[in-house]
């Protein structure tokens, strides 16, 4: 099961400050942009959700087809996104 994950740290003001891709799947040329797009859109959800829960780890807050977005909200003004991509997951949506 070839998986890949994109890990992004987002500072306050929603600016990405660190980006890394890990995983065994062959790298797609558009993946960086795709991941950025998915994670950027997920910020909308994080912003809504972060105020409703005291939990720091928000698991699977968003799903984009077979991309699952989890986020770790730090006590400081930054978020750590983990965008797991499991290519063998059953399709959704």
């Amino acid at each position: 099961m070839a998986t890949t994950a994109c890990f992004i740290i987002v500072s306050r003001n929603c600016i990405p400050i660190y980006e890394a891709e890990v995983g065994s799947a062959p790298k797609r040329e558009d993946a960086a942009q795709l991941h950025q797009f998915v994670l950027h859109a997920a910020l909308d959800i994080v912003q809504d959700l972060a105020w409703t829960t005291s939990a720091m780890f928000l698991k699977a807050i968003d799903r984009f087809n077979d991309l699952v977005v989890s986020v770790y909200v730090t006590a400081g003004p930054s978020h750590m996104f983990n965008n797991d991509i499991s290519q063998c997951l059953p399709q959704t949506g």
């Binding site: 929603c14 795709l34 950025q36 797009f37 950027h40 859109a41 087809n65």
Partner: protein, 1105 residues
């Protein structure tokens, strides 16, 4: 029977009771309620029974459903909607469990015509009786039925939000169920159903939702769900449109790519084939494919377009067709298995391109379909699937497709904006912009693109920005928005370098430069903060002294891919301490070429006010384009975390110190120099941490001082062994031997009052020796030892005005910090000159024979050893030398050496008398002149020293002696007094306060006035002095009294006084102002104090005020 009584009531036709009708109504209500309760009780009992038998073989869902449905219906008609809803939820749970029981698989359904249109909100679309009669309970119909019933109740409960939320979840889950049965369903049934379901749900919920009645959070949630439904619908719609060949009309944007590229292709059992009569359509599609030109991005950006498809459709479709012949096994095992079994097949299919239309195989079933054929086949298949003519119309032409596409995109964007999901909303705005752009509506497109770019740029998501920004730039270019276009180009250039090829970045730059050098309608200021950043050089700031110019070196990072020529460049400096006055612009005079990356530029720095400065704004000109950058770089890429922070702590780049003494000029000697002789005056020049390179000293001598010989000015290094800040050396330190290490010496010339300093003296303390001569016209005068009278020190004071110009470009002028208010900025050095000796005289002895021994005392005035070789006295009239006529002293111990600050005496023997015949020539001489021939040996660094030009003589003997002349006044001695003054006794009764008393003095002439110069020889001026507090004087206090010039004549001077206070008081005194005191004899003197008694008791006595 008893019960019947309760259920009946009597009706008298003739005289009904007053409460009859009310009674009847309440009874009826009661009956209905009882009946309902009984029925509900009955049904619930039945349901319980059935539930208990649930896992028995005899159990039948149909019976269970009839009971539940009936119960729910009963609840609904009595408006117990919540209860009805509960029944339906329980029914749904029960049904879901039933479906899952293995071995009892039912038909899925969905194969009837019209099933593609969702019935999730319309419970009556399919006759329920049929479902019950057949006992079919097909999942496809029944689940929709149940949801329809639930949503009907929820709408009745006025909960449209819940319908939307449950509906969205239902659609997602139902879509999964559809995908599981996709191989038995019509082609793309799932997608069509989702589109229809979403549309129905959107319409139904939106029409029942009234805005503003619920809490903002719930409202946001509702709009978010609407947005999600629109978005879902849009995705499926695009997928279907792609299948029939409208893919080229879709923007390959991140959002579309993300939505579609991960969404698998439909998986029908067999991919639809081309119908036999569709050749004309295939040709048309083929033509369309051939005409399709890939969208050329602006600036010639050659980027691989983002995918809209999870894999090649051609390959996928042909694979699904091939599986028909290969059997169902391949379908199950998937593509990996197939590629293992048919590796050549994989290679073949993967190498296919869109234009691969060569029909290599004859067999219609095995021949791979061309893309056009796939499109046509899909279109036909879809047409048979879609029963809704409205939906089908949307696929009928590109125009219709775009209209529907826009409608869905706008719906999603609007709802996302309302739900405050700005990122989702703005991204979809970008999609609308793409359509506007395509249709030539550039104004709207630019506005929407600007929104998208602002969002991405503001949050720094550069990958996404790189995708949209070229589109915005293109719109701006078409709209002739030069400012916007330039700004977009600059933003493109300032994106991460990896996002664009170098060639593309060069294209951006060339656009900027071309536009900058073209005739712009109105010159636009451009902010290039993200592209050109600057910072001071690392390390400590440049430190400058006040009024010094300098050169500022600044590091500028250029983000341009190529060299760029800046026609002009200026940089402002901002003072850190004051905001108003501190902005100074430094301009570069020449054009500057910035290389890509790091550049170091230097700017001339004119003198600045004291303070510390930071870099402000970089402005400049490229052609007609004026740009500015206010972005500091910290030596690399900008710190993104502080990207928005305005209060950036900036490092001072320049420090200009407050005015401080940069050099100190001081006189090298503190003691006096010889007057009227050429002397060295030393000026210590001490640079205080400042280079004196090229310094020029202007010298201007004050009155009574002249510079002797301009060619022999000497300069030597000055070993500074003292640590005191003033730099004035103690003389002792110098005498102890100044260090000779690194001693430099040079003779300088004075040219027009200017001396140029040698280079070696730039950074070290040096001493400048200038030969000067203080001119004193006055002859030195001796004084009597009885009344010592020293000459004022001011007489010997001379001044030298010094002005030192130094610093780079001679901008600095020496000024004494204590004299800083002086406008002349000229330092005046005081030099003290003096005679070598001060002469005082006294008569040592008056011998009986009339000889006077005159002692001449010589005080050394200088800090140097004086050697007296000879001395002689030229006497004034009335005195003659006793023995020899040469005027030499009686004691002849020459040479006489006088140490500094010591005294020596010379004795002359003179007598009163007329001068000899040879002295006739000097009869008019009223002063005696003392001549001293002397030599001096001193150090110029201490004080007086041998005159300039003499000290270089070879031997001691050959020294030219100096001659000092001093005037002495000799007075003939006064031998006897002329007048005698006596105080006559007071009355014996004593004095009393307030009592008149007469004071009497007798003045008697003892001898003639021989040398009296008074006008009247027979008068004498007298004056009575008395303390007015003690005495009241009646009569003349001052006056002339007649006194004969004859020897022995006498007068009596009396004055009437009144003592005013009792006690011992000083009596009035008689003085004779015209007569020298020496000529008055008061023997015995008058009483020092006299006793005044208190007044006698008297009632009429008044004390004067």
């Amino acid at each position: 029977m008893l019960a019947l009584e309760y259920k009946c009531c009597k009706f008298d036709l003739h005289s009904p009771e007053v409460n009859f009708w009310e009674d009847l109504e309440s009874k009826i209500v009661e009956c209905v309620r009882n009946t309902l309760d009984k029925r509900v009780q009955f049904y619930e009992d039945e349901i319980r029974k059935l539930s208990e038998q649930r896992f028995m073989p005899v159990w039948n869902f149909c019976n269970f459903f009839i009971l539940k449905e009936s119960l729910a219906f009963m609840f609904e008609i009595v408006h117990l909607h919540e209860d009805a809803l509960r029944e339906y939820f329980e029914l749904e749970i029960c049904y879901t469990e039933t479906v899952k029981i293995p071995g009892k698989q039912r038909d899925f359904g969905g194969l009837e015509h019209g099933d593609d249109q969702a019935t999730l909100l319309n419970s009556g679309k399919k006759p329920l009786t049929q479902i019950v009669q057949d006992d079919s309970f097909r999942e496809f119909e029944f689940r929709q039925y149940l949801f329809a019933c639930q949503s009907r109740l929820l709408f009745k409960l006025n909960r449209p939000l819940e319908v939307a939320a449950r509906g969205f979840t239902f659609i997602i889950n139902f879509s999964k169920a559809l995908s599981e049965h996709e191989n038995i369903l019509p082609f793309c049934m799932r997608e069509v159903w989702v589109i229809s379901a979403c549309t129905d749900l959107i319409n139904a919920t939106a029409s029942r939702y009234s805005e503003g009645l619920v809490a903002p959070d719930i409202e946001k949630e509702f709009y978010r769900l609407q947005g999600d439904l629109y978005s879902q619908c849009r995705t499926k719609f695009m997928r279907l449109a792609y299948l029939i060949g409208y893919g080229t009309n879709m923007e390959r944007s991140p959002v579309n790519s993300a939505s579609l590229s991960m969404l698998p292709w439909p998986k029908p059992a067999v991919w639809p084939s081309v119908p036999p009569d569709a050749s004309s359509k295939v040709l048309a599609k083929e033509k369309m494919i051939l005409q399709e030109t890939p969208a050329v991005k602006h600036f010639g950006i050659q980027r691989k377009p983002l995918p809209l498809e999870p894999s090649f459709l051609l390959r996928e479709a042909n694979r699904r067709r091939a599986s028909l012949s290969a059997g169902t096994m391949l379908e199950i095992s998937g593509s990996d298995a197939m590629s293992k079994m048919f590796p050549s097949h994989k290679a073949q299919t993967s190498s296919m391109t869109r234009t691969n239309s060569s029909p290599g195989l004859d067999s219609s079933i095995d021949r791979p379909m061309r893309l056009a054929e796939i499109y046509v086949a899909a279109e036909y298949a879809l047409q048979s699937t879609i029963s809704d003519p409205e939906l089908w119309k949307s696929f009928s032409s590109v125009k219709e497709f775009e209209q529907k596409y826009l409608e869905l995109t706008k719906g999603a964007a609007d709802n996302y904006h309302r739900s405050w999901w700005k990122r989702h909303g703005v991204v979809l705005d970008g999609e609308i912009a793409a359509v506007c752009y395509k249709h030539g509506n550039y104004d709207l497109a630019a506005k929407s693109y600007e929104k998208v770019c602002a969002l991405y740029a503001g949050e720094g998501w550069q990958d996404l920005l790189a995708e949209v920004l070229p589109n915005l730039a293109d719109c701006q270019k078409i709209l002739n928005d030069e400012a916007g276009y330039l700004s977009s180009c600059v933003r493109l250039l300032s994106l991460d370098k990896g996002l664009f090829l170098t060639k593309e970045r060069q294209a951006f730059q060339s656009k900027v430069i071309r536009l900058a050098h073209s005739e712009m309608k109105q010159p636009v200021p451009l902010d290039v903060s993200s592209l050109i950043t600057f910072s001071g050089n690392p390390g400590p700031p440049i430190e400058l002294c006040d009024r010094d110019p300098g050169i500022l070196s600044v590091t500028v990072w250029s983000g341009f891919p190529d060299d760029i020529t800046l026609d002009s460049l200026s940089l402002t400096l901002m003072a850190t301490f004051q905001a108003d006055d501190g902005i100074k612009a430094l301009r570069s005079s020449t054009a500057i070429v910035l290389k890509p990356g790091r550049n170091t530029i230097t700017l001339d720095l004119p003198p600045q006010k004291p303070g510390s400065y930071v870099l402000g704004v970089l402005t400049g000109q490229i052609g007609h384009l004026s740009f500015r950058s206010h972005s500091f770089s910290k030596g690399g890429p900008a710190d993104t975390d502080d990207f928005m922070s305005l209060e950036k702590p900036t490092r001072p780049i320049l420090k200009v110190f407050k005015p401080r003494p940069l050099v100190d000029l001081a006189a090298a000697v503190s003691s006096a120099l010889l007057i009227n002789e050429p002397q060295w005056v030393g000026i210590i020049v001490r640079p205080i941490n400042y280079s004196l390179k090229g310094a020029v000293l202007h010298i201007d001598t004050g009155p009574g001082l002249q510079i002797k010989g301009s060619r022999v000015i000497e300069m030597e290094s000055y070993a500074d062994s003292s640590d005191d800040s003033t730099g004035v050396k103690t003389n002792g330190a110098l005498e102890n031997g100044p260090s000779t290490a690194n001693k430099d010496f040079e003779q300088l010339t004075l040219h027009k009052g200017r001396i140029e300093f040698p280079d070696w003296a730039s950074n070290m303390t040096s001493i400048l020796w200038i030969p000067v001569r203080g001119i004193g016209e006055k002859l030195a005068r001796g004084s009597s030892s009885a009344a010592p009278q020293r000459t004022s020190i001011v007489d010997g004071m001379r001044t030298i005005a010094l002005k030192l110009e130094f610093g780079i470009s001679h901008n600095q002028t020496f000024e004494r910090h204590c004299d800083s208010l002086s406008p002349s900025q000229v330092f005046t050095l005081a030099v003290h000159f003096t005679d070598p000796f001060h002469v005082s005289t006294r008569v040592a002895d008056k011998c009986n024979d009339g000889t006077l021994l005159l002692q001449v005392i010589l005080h050394s005035e200088v800090k140097a050893k004086l050697t007296i070789h000879d001395a002689w006295l030229d006497l004034q009239d009335g005195f003659v030398h006793t023995d020899r006529g040469d005027g030499r002293p009686t004691s002849g111990f020459f040479p006489l050496v006088i140490s500094p600050a010591s005294r020596a005496g010379i004795l002359f023997s003179i007598r009163l008398g007329k001068s000899d015949a040879e002295d006739v020539a000097r009869t008019l001489q009223s002063e005696s002149i003392l001549n001293i021939r002397y030599g001096i040996s001193g150090n110029r660094s201490v004080g007086a020293h041998p005159p300039v030009g003499i000290e270089h003589s070879a031997t001691e003997d050959a020294k030219q002696d100096l001659v000092f002349r001093s005037a002495l006044i000799l007075q003939r001695p006064v031998l006897y007094p002329c007048l005698a003054v006596g105080f006559l006794p007071l009355p014996s009764g004593g004095l009393r306060v307030g009592q008149l008393v007469t004071m009497k003095w007798r003045v008697e002439r003892l001898k003639d006035f021989e040398t009296e110069v008074s006008k009247n020889h027979d008068e004498v001026l007298y004056e009575v002095n008395a303390n007015t507090e003690n005495w009241m004087i009646a009569g003349r206090k001052r006056g002339h009294a007649s006194l004969s010039a004859m020897q022995g004549s006498r007068i009596e001077i009396s004055i009437l006084c009144v003592p005013l206070v009792a006690g011992y008081v000083r009596p009035p005194q008689l003085g004779l102002p015209d007569v020298d005191e020496a000529n008055i004899s008061c023997n015995p003197p008058g009483p020092h104090l006299i006793c005044v008694l208190p007044p006698a008791l008297s009632s009429s006595f008044c004390i004067p005020a």
